[in-house]
Symmetry: D3
Subunit: 69 residues, 6 copies
């Protein structure tokens, strides 16, 4: 499996919060910061995700914003 | 400083690759995986980034794709 | 504060519409057109936004679509 | 013409910077802040844009990040 | 009408699923795979979309992820 | 392999145009319209793509804009 994206991490599902159309999946990654993904409920069901599952976390580099505080 | 984004990490600039319009900033984050950001050369210059600098890495949760391998 | 994004405006919060997972923040900017941001309820709470607040509006240039009518 | 996006402004092309694959179009909008769009050279040619042209500037609300400084 | 995006298809609305803030529009395109768009309820109302309507489906090339399985 | 995205097509690589940092991959999909993806040269090399290869084309539904002409 190869992805055309510069950001690929491994995460563990910590919590799933469901709305009518969208849901938010909270992830634990091997870093001090948590991560999260927002997707449709349909995608969540297709993935069949539940708390504790391991997932690949993919982000295209164009969607990464750098800020200098 | 507060950001309306669910993904906020701290990164260190490892390498900068410049094109004519765009550039790619390779980042080290406190995890086993590297990260990267693609932005315009204009943004890079406004940030004044150089190798070794610390930056905030911000990603909106809608741009995070989960994959189950 | 420096952002790696080519679009940075100042907006004022006009209205907040909340769902279960996501919310929509309507903004007034110093132009004839309104703007809006969609984010998670969690992000809204972290920002602590309420009607009348001033916010920085940041958009990466890759997410700006031009159309010729 | 109706767009499924909450952010629609009118801009005027101020400058075009071309690379091999991508280009950056600087825009003047009726606000104090400038805006910019990054697209492929192919898209630029299909739009047939040149300095001084008027364009519609479209951004989906999910791609708008709010920051509280 | 010209769009600064490399992906432009024609779709037919198959189904609309509404939440409080967001909605999901299922589309049929002239290919074996279905497509879908998530937008705000406000955008849906501005578009005035209903099942059976024809729409232009626009995606910027930077938002297209390629995967090799 | 399961993806948290509502748009998944199969494409065939028609052409690859390379810049210094970014590249553009033109795709043929089983529909009348072509598609394209913009990614970093690094991602292209990791994918090892060449003309004629088959790839999975993945787009999150939030990045799909509908327009009514």
């Amino acid at each position: 499996m190869k992805y055309g994206a510069r950001n690929q991490l491994i995460g563990k599902v910590l919590e799933i919060k469901k709305g009518t159309v969208m849901c938010q999946v909270q992830l634990e990654i091997p870093a001090k910061s948590p991560m999260a993904s927002v997707m449709t409920i349909d995608s969540l069901e297709e993935l069949g995700l539940k708390v504790g599952d391991s997932v690949k976390v993919v982000v295209k580099a164009v969607n990464v914003l750098l800020v200098r505080e």
